[in-house]
Symmetry: C2
Subunit: 336 residues, 2 copies
């Protein structure tokens, strides 16, 4: 489709219905969404309900490795996966700036449909608002998600103990550095790409193989690995000790971080998770992670100790010790 979004498309009348019919329902095919009622009624299956929400305001909306659409689907699926839930349904709410290209919108909706298909999680309900030119920046997307948590699964920061092992599912900082270099218009040797991907296949695998041993999971998005570990250290009042040399990172990401003066510990990831697991099972959890597509490059990166309560310590490659502080100041806005 061609043309531009007008205020009519958000007014709830004929133009809205046409946009929904010809563009949204064309890609996001499913009978529940197709009923166009005020909400979706469905049966999510057994278990406790997990509920999460995230808005996506990434700039630029198209970047190497994905679009705001993949982020919106995978990011919310990942928040459910981090609760130990099987994702069952997504909502999709768009705020679009008047004048936005319908071809660009279709590209985003197609990315949403493809990611939702790949993840096996349907978009069941939605909303579209249009604001006048200059009152928003192109498009903002909110997705909320419902998942179901099986009976045997109890994860949370309160289950973390000294002695637990810290695992990272793959390379660090890919999404953050991709967005920052895109935004700066930098071309970097090699192939920087967002790591946006769903993590529920990985979480399902490890929770099936070692349900009792997985104490907590976190996806280090905004604020990066440093912020996630700092929050865990504060919440548990334990020490998170990390071996820098064990953190998987692509060479071109490391080089681009140096070039731009950015610390990869604070850069966003959109397809990685930290798993905190009981030490006895750490090797088998690592094996299970590595057996999934999302966890091929998983590694044990450190452990939970009582050494410096409430602190994160990085044992650097050069043999030093660095205190990792929570992120403050110098924010990287609109990274997701």
């Amino acid at each position: 489709m061609t043309g531009y979004i007008t205020l009519d498309h958000g007014a709830g009348g004929l133009a809205s219905q046409k946009l929904i019919g010809s563009l949204f329902l064309k890609h996001l095919k499913n009978p529940i969404l197709g009923r166009m009622e005020d909400g979706a009624v469905f049966d999510p299956g057994e278990g406790r309900t997990a509920f999460t929400t995230d808005s996506y305001v990434v700039d630029p909306i198209f970047f190497p490795g994905g679009t705001i659409g993949e982020l919106a689907v995978n990011g919310t699926i990942n928040d459910l996966a981090m609760c130990g839930a099987e994702p069952r349904a997504l909502s999709l709410a768009l705020i679009i700036e008047e004048g936005f290209g319908i071809a660009e919108l279709e590209r985003i909706i197609k990315a949403i449909a493809d990611s939702a298909d790949h993840a096996g999680v349907p978009v069941l309900t939605g909303d579209t608002k249009v604001v006048p030119r200059g009152k928003a920046d192109k498009i903002f997307i909110n997705t909320s998600g419902i998942g179901m948590v099986g009976d045997g699964i109890r994860m949370g920061a309160d289950r973390i103990r000294a002695g637990d092992v810290l695992l990272l599912s793959g390379t660090l900082a890919d999404h953050g550095i991709t967005i920052m270099t895109s935004r700066a218009g930098l071309t970097v040797d090699g192939n920087l790409q967002s790591d946006t991907r769903p993590l529920h296949f990985l979480s399902r695998k490890i929770l099936t193989e070692a349900p009792e041993s997985i104490h907590a999971m976190r996806d280090p998005t905004r604020g990066g690995l440093g912020t996630v570990l700092a929050e865990l250290a504060t919440t548990t009042n334990l020490c998170m000790e990390v071996e820098e040399e064990n953190i998987p990172m692509r060479g071109e990401v490391r080089a681009a971080c140096e070039l731009m003066g950015l610390d990869p510990l604070y850069l966003a990831n959109e397809g990685k998770c930290v798993v905190i697991a009981a030490p006895e099972q750490a090797a088998s959890v690592l094996g299970a992670m590595q057996a999934t597509e999302a966890g091929r490059q998983a590694a044990i990166i450190g452990k939970v100790t009582e050494k410096y309560p409430g602190r994160v310590i990085l044992h650097t490659v050069s043999g030093g010790k660095r205190l990792v502080e929570p992120l403050s100041g110098e924010p990287l806005p609109r990274i997701c």
Copy 2:
């Protein structure tokens, strides 16, 4: 609290945590939200799950009778109520423009907390993003909602039959005309006020008293009563016949509509619903509606017939007949 929102508040680090702790959790107290995990895990109770989402971009954000905060809570609760669901949980996702006043933000969060309390529906999970100055207009809010639909309840446009009765829960166009006059800076005699309010107490009452007789419910928000009826006529291929003189409307709303040249049939309502009920039970459904706070001024406004399939006919006060077309063109943007 005073001060202004900075990009730090959306970066996921210390500033974000402080804002959440000192402002959001102060008002939106509940143990699940307080856990600050990636999502909320809870037990919504028995039934099928209803799921809905809406973004709120109303301009102005403060208006007579409410704020964007009440709209965001009540609007999503109402979408669940229209599905026949008991609302159980809300999510809250904010997109805030850099430089927005923290005092204004607190006023909105307090409105959200108060409306959620009044409705008895907790906010269980949330997200905050900040975009640079000029990239959004003050604040946009998304709420999604989860509700549970009891076993005996089956509502939907497919249950509407010729002979059914159309009921409206109260006066027309209050929200739409309030926003339009506020925006125009008009002062109108009398007391124009948004009708924002939750409708689930009303829907619970009528679904308890006459579950089989309620064929469908719709809340005429964006696009108004005209658009809702036009959609129902199209979907059912039946005729919606409405008696203009039976539509409740406040004198000052009628006067302001005339002054501004706006048709109240297309103006938004934020605390009203259309109920389509079996004719045998219409009087008792009307009585049940009138017994609730939200339905005091409920009225039977028309009926479903086979006269003009797919059309909405308004029998005017002056004795004429008017075809009510779906809204197209001349949109009223940012009404909710």
